[in-house]
Amino acid sequence: MSDITTANRPASNAPAPDVLDGIVQGDGYKYGFVTEVETDDAPPGLNEDTVRFISAKKGEPAWLLEWRLKAFRRWRTMAPPDWAKLDIAPIDYQAASYYSAPKAAAGPKSLDEVDPELLKTYEKLGIPLGERAALAGVAVDAVFDSVSVATTFKDKLADLGIIFCSFGEAVREHPDLVRRYLGSVVPQGDNFFAALNSAVFSDGSFVYVPPGVRCPMELSTYFRINAAKTGQFERTLLIADKGAYVSYLEGCTAPQRDENQLHAAVVELVAMEDAEIKYATVQNWYPGDENGKGGIYNFVTKRGACRGARSKISWAQVETGSAITWKYPSCLLEGEGATGAFYSVAITNNRQQADTGTKMIHIGRNTTSTVISKGISAGRGQNTYRGQVKVLSGADGARNYTQCDSLLIGKRCGAHTVPYLDVRHPGATVEHEATTSKISDDQMFYCQQRGLTAEDALSLIVNGFCKEVLNELPMEFAVEAQKLLAVSLEGSVG
């Protein structure tokens, strides 16, 4: 088929190349620096001994080691998924090191004991620790590579009975809760990357909000990949008990590096009766340079279970980073009247690839879900929305509305939409709409004619295009996200 393409055609009515075409190098990755800290790494390679090493390093109980080993054995029998519209160079899972912890004489008791190098890193990232945390009103469970080194606002939360700690701590302090919910939403053998994570997960966050408690502040964690050749495998478990409410923010930046880094996280959310969870992500990992060299592989499994009646889970994400994104935050709508939502902005520039979307599984009666996805492709980026809406035979009165819009900037990028609708109940109403278009010359001209630069005009138009999603983000993130959109598209016009 490709032999009948239109390579020789003159590009009629195309925008002037200096306006919308081509990619100019940006300022480079703004958060690209490496902190020199000695690390205590596992030897490269992955086998049962590696799993035992990680488990022993973390001083885990026997049941968790067994759980990891079970996952590892499942993983060995699985093949990486190949259905996504992604071009992934083969990954040598034996070449990476699966554990990396900052060296410290003993666990830090306060900020004074934390390695000053680490603190400097946080400063550069603008993480509000200590006083800054109080000013920003944000509790931070900062993950530096794999081990949590400082947790703030813990006492305040503890007064309300909210548990917000590192995963490792949760295993030690609250083994019953962890054991009860770990893997209950994303089972060990769910998919290739989830199985890998289950076997070698390093650390992450654990949140439990007791019945009837409304978490008074946004919980947030900065994930940051640091040591070279170390995949990071966070595990996040968030439980909102009956009538509880929690909003969780997750933001990511990573230092510049030339070798691809694998990131396979698992996030599990559980919402009981009348509970509500809002989970927001801004992902800005290193996307590789303009030639596609380097960059993070972001293969994430995120899933929430609306277990109880009238429970709500909402995912909001702004994906601007990573060389390759493979991510489908999903909702299992089990309880009667449960609500799921997915709001997403995904940007691919240069040679970035993103295959992202959601799954809404309607199981209970009168469950509703909303999906709003905005994909922006520039440069040679490839952006795919892949989403599934499934209505099972018990989901009487289920409703879904899906809208996915794609915006193309430039001649060499691609935008793809792959929705799956699977409906097995006549009482369900499922609607899907999608559009693909480009930024019109008229829009650009109008803005520039009023004195905006091409870049500001683009930023304005893109922010307008994404407004429905940005509105869903908590205040702090909305501001950061708007800046990110502009930074990510730098060099795509002008």
Partner: protein, 457 residues
Amino acid sequence: MPIWSMRLEAGGAMLMTDDSAPFREGFDQMLATAAEPVWLTFRRRAEMDRFALLGFPTRRQEAWRFTDLEPLTAAAPLPMAAPLPMAMADDLPSPASLALWLLPVTTHRLVLANGHVVPSLSAGPPLPDGVWLASVAETLRRRPDLLEGAFGDEDGALAALNAALFTDGVVLALEPGVTLETPVEVIHHTTAAGAHARLHIALGAGSRATVVETAIGPVGDGAAAGPVTSWGNTVGVVTLGADAVLTHLHIQAEGPAACHTAAVRAVLADRARYDACAVITGARLSRRDMAVVLAGDEAEFRLYGAYLLDGGQEATLSVRADHLGLGCRTDEVVKGVLAGASHGVFLGTLAVAPGADGADARQVNRNLLLSPTARVDTKPELEILADDVKCAHGATVGSLDEAALFYLQARGIDPETARRMLVEAFAAEVLDAAGLPTALAELAHRHLWRWLDGRDS
């Protein structure tokens, strides 16, 4: 996915089996007896090898994940190629059953029984100059040039099997500038397993034609369940020259024990227009794969279709439109009505190649679920690699509007009639939008009414 399975025999010898094994004997026999051009024999062998490599599609393949061929592949014995071009009396449709499906106007009619054109049932007025309409068998004897090079571009294992085993078919070729006013009517009557027929349509620059393709078979006792007893596997090859216009109506009304698979590939030159309409109500298991390549500038493809299913029926309509030229247009509207425990599948892909600026493509799939056990899977897909495009798709699934039902009942219409009216309106809308010539529209609507009547009884 293993391409073939290997079995270690007791003695350690290796035996390789593939899905082509059950067809090989009949295939070799056919090659030995048929007096065909050498290029065709080579082509048939190559296609059989291709099928051997691919095997029957399985649900492990993305394009087939919703279509379960198990009722077909599990049918024992596996479908064999009919070795002789001899239609038995049992295979012929009765005049009464045939009459149900005929256009109410004069046509050039060709009736195929199990993949062979039956001259006694085929008729029509004399053909105008510049029109070639004949069976594949006759074309191979008298105008082999029309078919040489027209094989093997179709994707997929079933198309490969068809090209290897095809028994006969219909060839319509129009020279440039010719308009064939009388519709061409092709009726496939299938009673046996493994009827592989072909339909070749080649319109020269500026020519016009109308083709109605109807698939029928024994009606049986009505329930779509149990094993498949007949299998028609057709391939259509459509080539439209610059400014050519083809209107193509497909009606699929096979019986409840039938399996129907069809692949259509169309290539459109500059400003060519392909108007397709498909009405699918028959067969236990059916699948229609359309691949339309808008190769020329400003080519236009329109598809209006409906699948109406009941009982244990399963039907898949898969359409891929590749936009390669500048300013191409595609408009697809497909509706589904699913009753009983039926399963409808719509797979639609709109693809815009790099540089294919000005593409304007629209795709709509609407489904109506009439029972708690009916199921629909729809996957409307966009693949856009050019930026100056307008592409949109929409898909909906729902049930009858309670308010509309109430409205009708409040005006004294009984619930059954009200329901029927709403279903009819839902499906008829797409047939009306197709803008078919009167005779074709009448046939399509008659087909719809018959389906509705069948549900009432």
